[in-house]
Assembly symmetry: C2
Homo-oligomer: 345 residues x 2
């Protein structure tokens, strides 16, 4: 029999519990028990079923299972601004790790750091009936999630707390980390210290820590040296050049986050200026380049968020919890004085 011109492509169909049951000569429920590893199945039956399942290449349908079991999937959503930022990639890795231990999986969705997209992206995740929502908030207000919280979905905010929502959160010890960094610079003789960063929550907090350290030490703040207009590395590059082009220049810089550090480094290298630098967030080449940083365990933030989500799932009634991930100064040279010449950049 040769092709008739209207060949319909016939796909082999996927085996269901029923198919396995028929082949094994048992009921659907028995197969279900075997597949889910429940008790009350004789060894003999179990073997027959297992063999039938293998023969048919049976793969349980989690969609159906989750639907039946209460409409909640064994999945946590991680909504994040930008996956290519190594900090968030590490947080994601931590989330994944925390989930793997529990047999849950992670769905990642990205807001592209656009406040306007947050609600839409989050909504898509909630329609998937995720077990929990892990969110790096970017919008100015999360009150739109109050209803979901009441419905029992754990909502954990990472890196920044929620605004107008009683959600749990995991943050870094931003102020303390920044204070430590500035104190170290002060201890090494620096008095003209600049801060470069943005106005997101973390940078705000770090700026506050920076100010606190200066204040405690009795050093007057210089407004021009508080640059909070740098979001990208390019911004930080520009800000650094501007600071160094002024009549009076800072002798040390605290970078608000890893992207800022990159930009500052580029500017320092290009201009061949010798300025002490401490970065917030560790990064791959920091050790190689002897860059002193305020470091922390980004993976721990992810794991901790999962822990909170699971805890919240168990007890929906308690007050919002906040976990703080410690930050510690990792001295490598660039923040000590004087900044080593030519070994750095």
């Amino acid at each position: 029999m040769v092709g008739d011109g209207t060949t319909t492509r016939l796909l082999p169909s996927r085996a269901r519990l029923l198919d396995v049951a028929r082949l094994a000569g048992v009921s659907v429920k028995t197969v279900s028990r075997v597949v889910t590893g429940h008790q009350n199945v004789s060894k003999h039956t179990r073997e027959r079923v297992t063999q039938a399942a293998q023969q048919l290449r049976f793969r349980p349908n989690h969609l159906a299972r989750d639907l039946r079991q209460g409409g909640v999937s064994r999945t946590m959503a991680f909504v994040i601004g930008d996956l290519t930022n190594p900090f968030y990639a590490q947080v994601a890795a931590g989330v994944e790790q925390g989930l793997a231990d529990e047999g849950l999986t992670m769905v990642i969705a990205v807001t592209h750091d656009d406040p306007a997209q947050e609600a839409r992206v989050v909504s898509t995740m909630l329609e998937r009936r995720v077990h929990s929502l892990l969110l790096v908030p970017i919008a100015a207000d999360q009150s739109y999630l109050a209803g979901e919280l009441q419905l029992g979905t754990p909502i954990i905010c990472l890196d920044r707390p929620a605004q107008n929502l009683a959600a749990d959160s995991v943050v870094i010890a931003n102020r303390a980390g920044a204070t430590d960094a500035v104190r170290s610079l002060l201890a090494h003789g620096h008095r003209r210290i600049a801060f470069i960063g943005s106005t997101v929550y973390t940078n705000d907090e770090r700026l506050a820590g920076y100010r606190q350290a200066l204040f405690d030490f009795g050093v007057a703040a210089v407004t021009e040296w508080e640059r909070t207009d740098a979001v990208t590395a390019a911004d930080a590059d520009r800000a650094t050049r501007e600071l160094l082009a002024a009549p009076v220049t800072p002798t040390a810089i605290l970078a608000g986050d890893n992207r800022i550090s990159t930009g500052v480094l580029r500017a320092l290298r290009d201009t061949q200026r010798e300025v002490a630098l401490i970065g917030f967030d560790d990064f791959d080449l920091a050790e190689t380049l002897s860059i002193t940083v305020v470091s922390h365990d980004a993976g721990q933030m992810g794991r901790e968020a999962v822990r909170l989500a699971l805890a919240r799932h168990e007890d929906l009634s308690g007050p919002p919890m906040q976990s703080v991930i410690p930050a510690r100064l990792t001295l490598r040279g660039s923040g000590e004085t004087p900044p080593p010449r030519s070994r750095l950049y």
Copy 2:
């Protein structure tokens, strides 16, 4: 009425189509039509339904929808070795971007670069009935996926082709990129050129390109300078030191990937040796440090994989497709001769 001691926590329940239908005084199907934006609903009815849905905070259950629609979710699985490797993070970002345009979401699962975990992790994803499987293979054999392929699930391999499986794939122009790099080193006068990398597919191909370039130029290969035992940055650091401790040392190094580059850089800085370096894969600080690299668009790899998956979904019958992402040499100084002193490390 005061607490009775056995307060059962009553959660508000989630609204279903039926609830909305009752409130709006219409049938379930009509609500379904409105929610999914289908035709054949009068404007008046549509408004009533929409209002009822909002009032009840109705959120459609994708689990149920996907199950009913044929048991396939609007999700693609991306199975990856390590999320913290910036290269893969960028690929993931590309996947996400490609999917967002289609209204699909991405589930990420991690194998921790462990061949033994691949099948299990992949299986979990397939049980979720993903639309397609995007896989960075790590196991030595993917023949276990043949059945799934026949069932109609598009399987796209990224960065490395599948083994013993007729799956589509997206790879980088590894050989050409490496050949270009070595040719450039040769053109700048280098004759003693080492390769440091591992034995994964990409590094294998890059080594082949390296050999080809040397062969074409008439430079004899030196086995000791083909180091394929370096997987991590620490390995590369060690390998570099060993190479530089030998009686005859290479004057240039081609690094097999971004992790290797990091390790080589560390070794060069610590030992204060001046050796030309070209890295495979671009990285954040490469420009700042004037490191010449073979660069490519990792995001494009992700987007291309999504494109192939969608195409395969439409036509399951065609032969396996392979997309090649171009690689080009980005000259920045470290690969030109002589390697600039002290500005680098």
